[in-house]
């Protein structure tokens, strides 16, 4: 079990500086019915070389969090407060030009549907070469100098090398194809290769394997795990599948209605979930070979235009107390870096 993906020792979180700090991120959209408070006080850190899972139901604000990190949500329609610190820079306030040097270069993103996030009118070869020319000009020159080949040949050989890294074969043929001509698994691997060309410090994977089959998903997950180990890339893995979180992630952050309710190391959170929502979520997961009846959290996610007062989960919580209706729970730091926002644990 030496190379087991789950037995990897995670780094002590306190001794390393986080690459990304999301501090008290608030985001609201203006809708005809009023302001929808999509994110409310989201806090988390992403450390180098770790895979952090962000899990939650549809509409809990996972994708919005990811998009706000890269400032991808149009400014007109939203109101944002808080900070997204990448090093010393706050990504929410820096200029568009500066953001351009970070987006796709130092922080890149992989989306859910691979075929629709690849330009359908250019061949796969054209798109990858464009990125190589943009980010790896030094490497091209180096290669041109060493092997005395043309620019085009140099770009192509780098493209091959990069696509090989993500486990693609028959690359020569593939470079001439369009997005619609390759399978979902191939397209997603190609997309990951594109995201990694610039050797980013952070890779955000927004439901990157949800559209794929389990067999293909297993490939992609293993690939991401290896990349994280070899390339020193930190991965923010957004998913609704707790199985994935258990298999490849070092830490798990559980999101509910725009708030992060619990953050802990994967093993701890699965063994000892503290927040009532996390418990309910874990019980609803079907497990192979364990035929217990599925239970579920009653009710649905609240309307964020008029969210419940106090703790946003209290209306569905079976352990709700008086205080839950009145006050917002703060994030409590318990032992072993286990953070939970719930009054049950307040002394």
């Amino acid at each position: 079990m030496e190379n087991s993906v789950i037995n990897k020792k995670s780094e002590p979180a306190s001794s390393v500086e986080p690459v990304l700090q999301v501090k008290d991120l608030n985001l609201a959209f203006n809708t005809p019915r009023g302001q929808a408070k999509i994110l409310e006080g989201v806090n988390f850190d992403l450390f180098p070389r770790e895979i952090l899972a962000l899990v939650g139901e549809t509409g809990s604000g996972k994708s919005v969090t990811a998009k706000s990190i890269l400032n991808l949500i149009p400014e007109r329609s939203r109101e944002t407060r808080g900070q997204v610190l990448f090093g010393v820079k706050d990504l929410l306030t820096i200029s568009g030009k500066e953001l351009g040097t970070i987006r796709g270069n130092r922080i890149s993103m992989v989306f859910q549907n691979p075929q629709s996030s690849i330009n359908p009118v250019f061949t796969l070869g054209e798109q990858i070469s464009r990125l190589i020319r943009l980010y790896l000009s030094a490497k091209i020159n180096d290669l041109k100098f060493k092997t005395q080949c043309s620019q085009k040949q140099a770009v192509e050989s780098i493209a091959r090398e990069k696509l090989n890294e993500v486990g693609l074969t028959d690359i020569k043929r593939m470079l001439k194809l369009y997005a619609s001509e390759v399978s979902g698994g191939m397209a997603q691997r190609y997309r990951i290769a594109l995201a990694l060309i610039s050797s980013p410090e952070i890779l955000i994977a927004d439901e990157a394997t949800s559209a794929l089959d389990v067999t293909v998903q297993a490939h992609i997950l293993k690939l991401m795990k290896d990349l994280c180990k070899n390339k020193r890339t930190a991965i923010l893995f957004i998913t609704h599948d707790l199985g994935i979180a258990a298999q490849i992630c070092d830490r798990v952050a559980v999101m509910y209605a725009g708030r992060i309710v619990e953050v802990a190391e994967t093993k701890k959170i699965f063994k000892n979930p503290l927040h009532p929502y996390t418990r309910g979520l874990l019980k609803a997961v079907p497990k192979l070979g364990k035929n217990k009846p599925l239970s579920f959290v009653p009710g649905i996610i609240p309307d964020l235009v008029s969210p419940p007062r106090g703790c946003r989960f209290h209306s569905r919580c079976d352990q709700a107390m008086d205080i839950c209706h009145k006050q917002k729970p703060e994030s409590l730091k318990l032992e072993d870096n286990h953070n939970v926002s719930c009054f049950l644990y307040k002394e």
């Binding site: 699965f270 079907p286 599925l294």
Partner: protein
């Protein structure tokens, strides 16, 4: 066990591919080839496989929504494989379908009442003046409130929309319902709600289900028997309880190993199945799975394996299933569970 409600005899569904100038197909996409299957009354049969293996086409072919190239479909003893649309109508009411995307399968311009009355019109037992009463009853069955009846589909959440789809399917008083990835678009907690509702309704109305999904872990909760499909063929049918603990076909085992388990202590690595799903226009010779199989031998690429019974209602299609079974290669060791 009871008699079979639906029996399929070597059904094929081929779609023309790459038509020539005169409209004659040069080749065929063999979405379903040579499938024989019994669906027993009162059971929930699961159908799993990767995308593009023909599961949905098979589900649709049973309901005669997809063309049937050859073969026989018997529904309660009647051969419905060759009936035309007019004669199929009474059978259509008895066989319903619930689709993956609830939003797309409900007409956005119709109220829930209109949607349900449209289906109720097929139910000869309900008089027109009783539609409202009946619709309220249907909504009650799926845990929705009577005041929801004049709302439009977009006013509901995904889980509620799927429940409306189930109510619509029940409106015609069916015997058999096909759920085509009916819970795939839902969250785990909502999925669990919909599934417990499905089971409840099955007991109440003695329904028979065909549950199509790519999610293996849900199968055990929903189904009594599971059929595994690969490249247009069904390669294994077994009881849901034993299928994933003791699979008979190497593909079932590979599929199971690729499922991420929500337990970081399981100590199990994701199994990687090499290669890609074959194209249905040009499936491999012999056993369709042989290019990706770890246990293949010469015969696998030459001869298509025959159906071998392994139990009363279970069978497998593999040349070496007996050998693999005796060696115990495919059985999961205790610690991997």
């Amino acid at each position: 066990m009871n008699e079979s409600l639906i029996s399929l005899e070597q059904i094929n569904t081929w779609f023309p591919n790459n038509k020539s100038l005169l409209g004659k197909p040069r080749s065929w996409i063999k979405a379903v080839s040579d499938v024989s299957l019994n669906i027993i009354e009162g059971e929930c049969l699961g159908l799993v496989g990767e995308s593009g293996c023909g599961k949905s086409t098979l589900g649709r072919a049973i309901l005669r929504l997809a063309p049937l190239s050859s073969g026989e479909i018997r529904f309660m003893g009647d051969d419905i494989g060759k009936l035309d649309n007019k004669w199929l109508k009474p059978y259509r009411a008895k066989m319903q379908m619930v689709f993956q995307d609830p939003k797309a399968s409900l007409n956005p311009k119709m109220t829930i009442f209109k949607i349900l009355s449209e289906a109720l019109a097929l139910n000869l037992r309900v008089e027109k003046e009783n539609y409202l009463e009946q619709s309220v009853k249907l909504l009650d069955l799926v845990d929705l409130r009577p005041e929801h009846i004049y709302r439009y589909p977009h006013e509901f959440s995904g889980g509620q929309q799927q429940r409306i789809c189930i109510a619509r399917a029940l409106a015609t008083d069916p015997k058999f319902i096909v759920f085509d990835e009916a819970t795939s678009a839902l969250d785990v907690s909502v999925q669990a709600q919909v599934i417990s509702l499905m089971r409840e309704l099955q007991d109440k109305f003695n329904l028979t289900y065909l549950f199509i999904s790519h999610d293996l872990s849900i199968m055990e909760y929903v189904c009594t028997r599971v059929a595994v499909m690969y490249a247009g063929q069904i390669i294994e049918v077994q009881d849901a309880g034993s299928l994933f603990d003791a699979p008979r076909h190497p593909y079932t085992k590979a599929l199971k190993n690729a499922v991420p388990i929500a337990d970081p202590e399981s100590g199990k690595e994701l199994g990687i199945l090499k290669g890609e799903v074959p194209k249905l226009s040009d499936p491999p010779t012999g056993c369709h799975f042989h290019p990706r199989c770890n246990y293949k031998e010469d015969i696998c690429s030459k001869k298509s394996p025959l159906v071998c019974k392994t139990g009363e209602n279970s069978w497998v299609r593999c040349h070496f299933h007996e050998k693999l079974w005796k060696q115990g290669i495919l059985i999961n060791s205790k610690e991997s569970l």
